[in-house]
Amino acid sequence: MKQMMLGNEAVARGAFEGGVAFGSGYPGTPSTEILEYLAPYENVVVQWAPNEKVGLEVAMGASLAGVRALVTMKHVGLNVAADPFFSASYMGVNGGLVVVSADDPAMHSSQNEQDNRWLAKAAKVVMVEPSDAEEARWMTREAFALSEQFDTPVLFRMTTRVCHQTAVVNLEDPLEAPARGYKKDIPKYVLLPGHGRLRRHEVEKRLLAAAAFGNESDRWNPVFEGSADVGIITSGVSFSYVRETMPEASILKLGLTNPLPFERIKRFAETVKKVIVVEELDPYLEEQVRAAGVDATGQSLRPYFGELNLPLLEEALLGEARNKVTVSLADVEIPRRPPTLCPGCGHRPVFKVLRDMRIHVMGDIGCYTLGALKPLGAMESCLCMGGSVGMAEGLERFGGPDLEGRVVGVIGDSTFFHSGIAGLVDMVMNGSKATVLILDNATTAMTGAQPNPGSGVDIRGAPAPRLDPADVCRGVGVKRVVVVEPYDMENLEEVFAEELAAPEVSVVIVRAPCVLNEGVTFAEPVELDLELCNQCGLCIRVGCMAIREKDGYPEILADLCNGCGVCVQVCSEGALTIPEKVGA
């Protein structure tokens, strides 16, 4: 049966067909929908983990128990999970284990553009790369068996354009994958140095075996025979661009990209006059192909970073793009439309107050990172998930008198549970005086409202235990924990001032439900009396989509306004009023 499916949905389908019993992971674009699509399947346990490391660890336990397991994350998530990932390579598996890394070339929704193919090579595990949604399905389906065959976690490496393409997928019946049962095996599963040294040999043997398999596999590493003039070696979404740019070329399409099938690559190279490697991001294939003694070009023909696309590849391979751009936009300045905080969002008043107080904000990753953008401009760093807490501690300690009592770390609730807690422990144990604000909207908003440990529901929406961040903070030894709601900005400023002045660690939990959450009710839209407006522009500067400029005056867009009242509080003329607050 054929069906249109998102690439990520196809991974979930493939996992189901492949007999997966357990799915875990942490949200992150472009990987998030995989677990969401897996959750409705019956007989599969699917759960969000607080972070990628834990997700992988639980999956390793499931694998040892003898069932097939899937773990999903975005590329930077694999950094968090790198510790178990690298050693799981030595431990091997019992039930098949597939780890999805969704990379984000061009950084559509990410802080960096790292190429995780290197991590498969460094960890010495088998890597699979699908090029479209249908391959995402069948390769997932069969990756569990590969994992079991070579006794290794499989890194399933996707990119944004495979995750977020919707294409035709052929559904198949699920495979039989009976649970294998747990078998105690101390030398294999206890990575003491002595055991690890023995396992090290097994890792090398696995790589040889997997390379031999890849050398002979027409299914995973097919050759598309064509003209002998050019032979192209490629993988992932790049293959689809190659197919379209040069349908007549000979192509070696690699579905298994670690270990590389060098024999097959050499055999292919001998059939063509010239070898070109086409890939996105780093010259991962090219460097290895050349090191193996094959004369090839690749990166010199394309940009060093960002995504590949048809015109780029046509220019590289054919000399010019097939489609001429005939409409010029050079003479118009088109304003950008960057993402912004939603009208009524509880993050907005926090940044408005911090900006007015001229506090230095070490930020973190989530919707609230948008507080760094104009007109709020109230965040001064954003490094990695959980990074705000440690960075605030370091900046406060070494920033000199100017920064004393003027530094906060700002972190979302999901991010706090993910990796902020350990930073807070560091603050407590080392006597930091910095302040941490936890923006608690009870969800993981940025990635589309996935539940987190503080949400009280699971991935299927069923009730689940709810962890209160305030309890966690007290539990790790923070004495000053204050909980406030953000919409009363005068109060917010008082609380911030008091906690910043305190000569010890303090945490302010700013609590307001995400306005995109179902069940949140709003006040009536704000009303504007133009007679009273003095055109000062302060309301515009709170950065809300529901207020725009019209003929030199503000205008309230009633369709968008949630009546949160933030703009009302900044107006000194009383021109803005809230008709009646029904509560938010």
Binding site: S328, P335, M446, M545
Partner: protein
């Protein structure tokens, strides 16, 4: 269908306008007719009030999911600025359907208007073939502004002779479960088609 066998439709607008649903309906109708389809969509950061585009490619065999600049047969824009932003994707014979709606990006300061003056004229001048659609207005008349996406689709459908009524019906049936919604969608689709008579 074109010589190279692939028809490219780019849809653009602002997050929350129902662009993804419209794109999915188009893709599903094409699959129903037996075509290969690839579509590329946006999720994540860019959805928070940012601009959104989806690429839909329909043909006998479609390898890659992205439309090249200068390669779109159709641009379906739900907002004027977002029509302008993607205009260079159009082929010389490409047709743009533009919803008559302005949503300004976030205003940063009172004295800084944040739109393109004269956007209608610029669009008319630059687009090789442009069809204005009063989509938002028509949807309002139908009593549901969210229907603007289906209205735009109905307009586009008049220029896609390789898809038949049965294909659209099948797509709507697959996408929407409630008979009432299906009926409303079918009605909005017909209204959209009336924008481009003679096909």
């Amino acid at each position: 269908m074109e010589k190279d066998g692939i028809t490219n439709v780019l849809l653009s607008g602002v997050g929350g306008q129902g662009i993804l649903t419209a794109s999915r309906l188009l893709a599903m109708a094409a699959l129903h007719r037996g075509f290969d389809v690839k579509m590329s969509e946006v999720h994540g950061m860019s959805q928070r009030g940012g601009n959104v585009d989806t690429h839909v490619r329909i043909g006998e065999a479609v390898p890659s999911p992205m439309i090249p600049k200068g390669g779109a047969h159709f641009l379906v824009s739900f907002e004027k600025l977002e029509a302008l932003r993607y205009l260079d994707y159009l082929r010389p014979d490409g047709v743009a359907f533009v919803n008559r709606l302005e949503i300004s990006p976030l205003t940063l300061a009172l004295k800084q208007p944040n739109y393109v003056d004269d956007v209608d004229r610029i669009l008319d001048e630059k687009a090789p073939h442009l069809i204005w659609v009063d989509g938002t207005e028509m949807a309002r008349e139908l009593g549901d502004v969210r229907m603007v996406n289906v209205i735009m689709l109905g307009a586009l459908a008049t220029r896609l002779p390789f898809l038949e009524e049965a294909d659209w019906e099948a797509a709507v049936k697959e996408r929407f479960a409630k008979p009432k919604v299906r009926e409303a969608v079918a009605n909005a689709f017909r209204k959209g088609a009336e924008v481009c008579p003679g096909r």
